[in-house]
Symmetry: C2
Subunit: 204 residues, 2 copies
């Protein structure tokens, strides 16, 4: 199948959203935990978290300020901190449900049955049911004028992982902790490892 | 397991790279096809391609200018165009091999056995073996001073997908075309769908 630029532009809006959201490939599934200054908690599923660098350890994500995660973005600006919690196959439905339009004074934790957990005196809630989660400190955010999204960059400052998931060389076996991948807007996937491949070198 | 900020900073460099690269979750696996003004082709595997918006259809990626994909970035600046080609399980090894340090006058296509394909008069090479690929026009790039990476934003202008992969509502079944996911620096995965979940609404 072939879609030209003009055909893409003329697609029905929801069809185009499903189609274009599938193009980047598999996406990460993470829950962003925040709270406002009064301690009202918020939890939002985000599929745009991406690795930005290992030294310093940086993580990026894209937020749409006018969509559901706007409370998340507001809380991050207010407190400067957030948690990132990988979604595993046991909590896919609750995680997805956080994308419903709850008011700011309704916590998605209470609404979905996920449990807040406070670790190492960090001022944002973790998800108890997540098996890989970390504390993040806001470093900067950039408004992307092209479509009104915000690029949010944070430093990873504290890391909590299920025992046995970290291998000898630092690699974390995400399949062993049932971390899921997302495709499109609404499809969740478990994974099966094909292989870890050696560092690539030119063949003589 | 618990790693504090100080412990993360003190990790051996390679261990930290593996660990931190695993934190964002599953990543997309894409081959970026480019050529310079003379027509010398280049191909680089990138795990940082992410969805940025559906209308206009935008895709972002993070490039490390001092790493292997610097030729890719140079070519994108020179020609203003590139292709994004999803990696499937049949070409994982060739795709990974593009990350070796080839000189600029050596094409990763020739070196890995992947085949150039030119579609719809677009001035950058596609990967013939890829089953979902699209032409991208550079919109903007932003230097991220925090760690010297470049955020590259492009508009999707022409789209080629295997027949039958696009479902009635626009969703593309990536598992049906064997698209793989990446974790960490070097692990490749096939996927199995758990479910597509309905648009989330507040329960009364």
């Amino acid at each position: 199948m072939h879609f030209t630029k003009q055909q893409i532009n003329e697609l029905e809006q929801r069809f185009r959203a499903h189609l274009i959201n599938s193009l980047s490939g598999f996406k990460s599934a993470n829950l962003i935990g925040t709270q406002d200054k009064l301690g009202n908690t918020n939890l939002a599923i985000v599929s745009s978290v991406f690795h930005l660098g290992a030294h310093p350890p940086l993580v990026g994500m894209i937020m749409r300020p006018h969509s559901v995660p706007r409370h998340t973005f507001e809380n991050i600006l207010e407190t400067g901190v957030y948690t990132i919690n990988q979604v595993n196959s046991e909590i896919v439905e609750q995680a997805h449900q956080t994308s419903a339009r709850y008011d700011k004074d309704e916590s998605e934790f209470a609404a979905t049955g996920l449990t807040t957990e406070y670790l190492a005196d960090f001022n944002a809630p973790f998800v108890a049911q997540s098996r890989l989660k970390y504390a993040v400190q806001l470093v900067e955010h950039q408004h992307l004028a092209i479509n009104g999204t915000e690029l949010v960059i944070g430093e990873i400052i504290d890391l909590h992982i299920d025992d046995n998931a970290v291998q000898e060389d630092g690699f974390i076996d995400l399949a062993s902790i049932d971390t899921v991948a997302v495709s499109g807007l609404d499809s969740y996937h478990t994974t099966q490892a094909i292989a870890r491949l050696p560092y690539a070198k030119k063949t003589p």
